[in-house]
């Protein structure tokens, strides 16, 4: 859908011409048509911390640091960096880089963008919250000072896009949309970055068209001139559009549709392990069950009961049936590829309902107990079916489970944020490719700062907290890796969670399209090719 502002008559003529053009098939210019489940919510680079939005924005906006194909950190708008002290970082910026509107990139743009990401309405506060000060040394040198030593600063900066300061001033978008002012801000529908593609048409929920930036400083693997990004919410329609040739690339294929696409000769599939692990978590901190009845006690504070749940859940069966094989069963909560990952911990607890019953009896719940299992129905791949299967499996060992399915806005807004859930499904990925984030935000006791902000389990283990704090302060990667492995070993030993599987990402494309999928579901456009 594109718009032409013109009189009806002229419009008719033009529309006819365009229609004829469209019908004549692919023109000389190479256009990549991408279909996704959801649209990017905004063109503002610091408003929505959602993977689809980040992906689309990364085609137009760039960060100081990026990732190379081996996922190692690589220079982008910064050409290099050094630590002046554990809390002081000096970045050398790339010279001769221009924004899409032609203005030059410099240190003031970086300072402004970081300040912008720190504002209250930004969802990127977590990435820049630790930056206490920015010091502009000269036009191409900037120093960042963190409040505490932060080994993940570079990883965090890969997510912080740089916007032009003058452009922000001119259009009055120095902070992400202020929802109090009831007017839409310029940056919601317009973009001005340094990236390889420039925004041409933005029609929310319909299509976003980008054209190649002729002055792009970097290199692209492909030579795609134009990108048309179209959200198609229904899986079957999205797949039909690929098979019928209306799309070139479709991201995030639902697992139940993979087999059908495998059979299609004109479609190629790419599969990668995603950095997201699904698991059940429990309220381990309350005195009694918040939603359920176990005679005034909280069975989930007992390790044996949690272990029984682990033994009662057949994660292999869930992967085989619900996920159609497109997931990897696991015994831990951290996905492969993260710093701190230990393959040994992937060993499954095994499916053993008899042993589960034994453990429940030993803990004093021979007759089981009743509780509510909370689940989202539009957050993770097949979340609803996973929970249905799990509820049935738990019933097999004598637990009386009532399943409470809800949309994610209710699930998070009313249950998890209020710490008001007894057992719930979680899917966690680390944007930093590092186990520190999950340990810090989800496992640690909720205190201040980012410690325990997602600790919906009310978990509190001061020894474990100390170990995580120690790992978090370790700048050296190898040392941190060792310490985190120990942390995750303890988490597994305490059976704080009931792990299910690591998700798998499936993209489908025409045979002439080449894509390398990043495990965080970030579509890196510089790596996409089209023959």
């Amino acid at each position: 859908m594109s718009r032409l502002k013109t009189s009806p008559l002229a419009a008719l003529a033009v529309a006819g011409a365009v229609g004829a053009f469209a019908a004549s098939g692919p023109a000389a210019a190479k256009t990549l048509r991408i279909g996704a489940q959801a649209d990017a919510g905004t063109m503002d680079p610091h408003a929505q911390n959602i993977q689809t939005t980040i992906s689309v924005l990364s085609w137009m906006y760039e960060a100081l640091v990026t990732r190379d194909k081996s996922l190692a950190k690589a220079p982008q708008l910064a050409t290099g960096w050094e630590n002046l002290s554990p809390t002081e970082w000096r970045f050398t910026l790339r010279p001769d880089v221009k924004f899409h509107d032609g203005s030059a990139f410099g240190a003031d743009d970086v300072a402004m963008s970081i300040a912008r990401a720190q504002s209250d309405t930004s969802q990127y506060k977590g990435y820049v919250g630790n930056i206490a000060q920015t010091r502009i040394v000269d036009d191409l040198t900037i120093e960042l000072v963190t409040a505490e030593p932060d080994p993940l600063l570079l990883d965090k900066l890969t997510q912080v896009f740089i916007m032009d300061k003058d452009w922000a001033d001119t259009n009055n978008v120095q902070r992400p949309q202020d929802l109090k002012q009831k007017e839409e801000t310029y940056s919601v529908q317009n973009a001005n970055g340094t990236g390889p593609y420039m925004l041409k048409v933005r029609e929310p929920d319909a299509r976003t068209v980008l054209t190649r930036n002729p002055d792009y400083w970097g290199t692209l693997d492909g030579d795609i001139d134009e990108i048309v990004f179209q959200p198609i919410s229904e899986g079957p329609t999205r797949i039909a559009a690929l098979v019928s040739g209306e799309l070139d690339l479709v991201t995030a294929i639902p697992s139940q549709n993979v087999a059908q696409l495998e059979a299609s000769p004109d479609v190629k599939l790419e599969v990668t392990d995603e950095f997201r692990t699904l698991f059940f978590a429990f309220d381990v901190g309350s005195e009694s069950l918040k939603h359920g009845d176990a005679g005034g006690k909280n069975p989930f504070s007992d390790r044996r009961v949690r272990q029984a749940v682990n033994l009662a859940l057949d994660s292999e069966a869930i992967v085989r049936t619900v996920m159609r094989g497109y997931a990897t069963p696991t015994g831990q909560i951290l996905a492969p590829g993260n710093v701190g990952y230990d393959a040994e911990l992937d060993a499954l607890s095994g499916y053993d309902p008899e042993a589960a019953k034994g453990l429940l009896a030993e803990a004093g719940y021979a007759d089981g107990f009743s509780f509510t299992l909370d689940c989202p129905n539009n957050r993770y791949i097949n979340d609803e079916q996973i929970c249905r299967a799990a509820a049935a499996m738990l019933a097999q060992v004598g637990l009386d489970v009532s399943l409470n399915l809800m949309p994610r806005a209710v699930y998070f807004g009313q249950r998890l944020w209020n710490r008001d859930s007894t057992m719930f499904l979680m899917g966690f990925n680390s944007p930093y490719f590092d186990g520190t984030y999950m340990a810090e935000t989800m496992v640690m006791t909720t205190t201040e700062g980012s410690e325990g902000i997602y600790n919906y389990s009310l978990n509190s283990d001061l020894e474990l907290d100390a170990a995580i704090r120690d790992a978090r302060g370790t700048l050296d990667v190898e040392g941190r890796h060792k310490k985190l492995q120990a942390v995750y070993r303890t988490i597994k030993g305490d059976v704080l969670y009931a792990p299910l599987h690591h998700q798998v990402l499936v993209y489908a494309m025409k045979p002439n399209v080449g894509v390398k999928i990043r495990p965080d579901n970030w579509l890196e456009i510089r790596w996409v090719t089209m023959d």
Partner: protein, 327 residues
Amino acid sequence: MLSFLARRLGQAVIVMLVVTAVAFVMFRFLGDPLVAILGIESTEAQREIVRAELGLDRPVAIQFLNYLGGVLQGDFGISYRLGRAVETVLVERLPATVELAVSGMLIAIVVGIPAGVYAALNRGRVLSRILLSASLFGISMPSFFMGLILIWVFAVTLGWLPSFGRGQVVDLGWWTTGLLSAGGLKALVMPALTLAAFQIAMIMRLVRAEMLEVVRTDYIRFARARGLSHRAVHYRHALRNTLIPVVTIIGLQLGSIIAFAVITESVFQWPGLGLLFLQSVATADVSMMSAYLILIAALFVGINLVVDLLYLVIDPRLRGRSELERA
């Protein structure tokens, strides 16, 4: 007549007030808008700041009065998901839905009425039976399934029609239309057919039943006795009387397909109000959901009002009664 109109308008205002209140309160219990504003991964401290900033921590009654004040001035607040003014987005999406609904209804009328008349006048014939069975199919087929079948046949297998979207759209300044370009018309075919399937079946069955009823009445028999041609009896007298209830139903159905084209719009990624509503629900975009509900209620109240007035015009007895009331 005037008092009738005033009473109807008064009722309409009360209904709209109640709907606005319900829309406002209901959606605030259906999910936390902060999920849409700050994302799932936000901290409690951050949420508190934004909650206070947006006045979401104030008593519901105060929030409602503020909201009502805004709505009366045409200000429905800002969409938390899209970061744009709600009324702007609604106005943008309305043309897509209206064009789809009206085309679907036109197809339904053009096919449904003749088919119904035929089935009534030719009872027992093979074609009538086929039409009736086909209509049963049309009524019972879920539109999601119907849409997918059409997509696989016409987009995937034959490659004639696009499987999603609105195609080439022309912007007339105040309205965007897909009716002026080949691409736009092509894109309209399958969604309109999907939407029409149920309506065709319903209109056809309604016309058939009404026609059979009317043909049995005395004045038709007298018309025949007067020696009028079959044609005149059937089309000038019987059909015209059949159409009165049919027009009413079509009016109300048009309202409901504008309001509930959600499934069809979602299958074909048709960028109209229904798709917008679905996406707003998924992200707890409460301001958008409330505005949608109010808009739809206004649509129904408006249609009912028009239908009431039409009755007044069509049926002189109603007019007489209100004249009496006035006296």
